[in-house]
């Protein structure tokens, strides 16, 4: 709803900046320069200044940025005051790992419920998250807008369709499948095999200097 002017590349870096600013704050630092931040997050300092500048003049020339002020600003921008509840679909090895992973740590995002088809898992609670029968997805999903998809690739499309029908708008897809979803649904892929293979390919073919 807000300004659609912010480049996507910038938007992807915001959560990272936010996390580091929190670190600085907890270390009691009140002031930071784009250069210092650059060393910490490994993003060019000019890029950081450019990123921040999309939100207005947040810093002071000759001084840098005030950590407190910047944090307050990002907290609002990233909607950190609002708690976002997401669903996890598919409690296999990876799905279970995410349930144990504490997404709330630096974060306003919480896995509110999980789904699986395995009778062994249905009805249990993992790290405080209840596992429902996948058959009851429609009934339980409620108002959730974001799902983490860790089902087998073979049912990725069918599951996506069900999620879409319930009004889910964004899916973080860990299956190797390239999902067919309605165009209004935003899908981010994290494909672990591809990442690993790409890394190997780069090592072999793109020697670092």
């Amino acid at each position: 709803m807000t300004q659609n002017k912010i480049p996507q590349a910038t938007a992807k870096r915001l959560p990272l900046y936010y996390r580091y600013l929190r670190n600085l704050q907890s270390q009691g630092k009140s002031r930071v320069s784009s250069k210092e931040l650059s060393d910490a997050v490994k993003v060019d300092s000019a890029t950081i200044r450019r990123d921040f500048s999309y939100f207005g003049a947040l810093g002071k020339k000759g001084y840098g940025y005030n950590v407190e002020y910047l944090l307050g600003f990002f907290r609002k921008t990233l909607d950190q005051d609002e708690l976002i509840e997401v669903a996890l679909v598919g409690v296999g090895n990876l799905g279970a790992a995410f349930l144990h992973y504490n997404f709330m740590k630096n974060n306003n995002i919480k896995i509110a419920m999980a789904f699986d088809s395995d009778p062994e898992k249905i009805g249990t609670e993992i790290s405080g998250v209840h596992v429902y029968n996948i058959d009851d997805l429609e009934e339980k999903l409620d108002d959730i807008k974001v799902a983490i998809l860790t089902v087998p690739a073979s049912v990725a499309d069918a599951t996506t369709e069900r999620l879409a029908d319930q009004g889910v708008e964004g899916i973080l897809n860990f299956t190797p499948a390239r999902i067919n979803a309605p165009k209004h649904i935003r899908i981010h892929h994290i494909d672990l095999s591809v990442e690993l293979q790409a890394l190997v390919y780069f090592l072999k073919h793109y020697p670092l200097v």
Copy 2:
């Protein structure tokens, strides 16, 4: 060592193409057009043709691409005949999930060993992978060039340094830390919180049409 001319964006898509071509092959398809492939992998058909063209003229006008031929070509390009052994460092929830995950499925990459500091885990075997004491890293690591890093963020830097000292050249980093590593080491970050937060941000600020 080979041609450094291939755009990085293209290189990242190669494993994806490879996987889909294997699917086609196992379905008995012998011919495919950039358009069909585009539907499957959700990459613009012109981009696919451009990607392939970096490797020469692999297709035939008016016909498309021969699946068998293309696969053979990519197998060589992606070094699929060579088995790559990687180490997994940190057998927590996420690390254990990766051990269970069958990386070999469509893949020439194998987790050959794992390391952890938990006495409960040391000496055990998970999905056929032995878990060594992290103290013995230097001794056991052998000739491994790629590591998957799933340790706590607090020890990410120290662990990276030890890996680097043993000749590791590439790290797939799942910790939220932005690692300080020698410049000749290639690091790919997969930051799950950031991915999730970015997805939420996009949903809110970048309505799809």
